[in-house]
Symmetry: C2
Subunit: 110 residues, 2 copies
Amino acid sequence: MLTKEELPPCPVATCFQLFGNKWKIYIIQQLIDHPMGFNALHRSIPGISQKVLSSNLKEMDAAGLITRTVIPETPIRTEYALSELGHSLMPIIDSLVEWGTDYQQLVRNS
Amino acid sequence: MLTKEELPPCPVATCFQLFGNKWKIYIIQQLIDHPMGFNALHRSIPGISQKVLSSNLKEMDAAGLITRTVIPETPIRTEYALSELGHSLMPIIDSLVEWGTDYQQLVRNS
DNA sequence: TTAGCCAGTCACCAAAAGGTAAGTAGTATC
DNA sequence: GATACTACTTACCTTTTGGTGACTGGCTAA
């Protein structure tokens, strides 16, 4: 979770701060179905660098959108999963996908 | 409208390209209730520079989200208004405002 | 004729975001 | 002992985005 000091006054700005960059929505989409490890996430999101994936995961963990669990199997693994808060973004993602798909149709038919 | 070449394959990336920056959602929110001129918009969005407002308006016009009408009154004015496509973003904006407000409550009560 | 409002543009700079490639460290397998 | 897989970090660089302040140019009103 952000602290009270980091919280922007505008609700929309709050959203943008939490998941309004190039990659975070993609990370969330990957984690919807099942938790994933770092390398699996890295492979499943074409174009993202390890550095940016790492920093985005940290921010999303700090914001409470995902959870990070170290699993002491052999080999030791780290599992990233959507938190309840992360899952509550589903309606927004669905509406973005819907609107974006409609717009793509509009462009392709023009 | 974007051209077919500029269109990203992913619907969510399409959304981000069209209104996923710091200011465009604010511009849309200002134009929901009534059309506005350039200076009125500039005054109503604290912190935005004329340069960035100008370039954002151009991009949103090109994308079909807003319309730009020059009104030959005296003094001559320019009116920016939401297009039908722009209005179709309302459900997304509403869900962003709702989620952001909930998150703010969560932070403030923690 | 000076001032002010409208709607911007331009040149320059700063900050944020992202990309690249290499390195670290632990464990396990060949 | 070499290789590979886990999960990252670090230094450096480029690109993108945004901000500043001055300036243009048409029009109007005192």
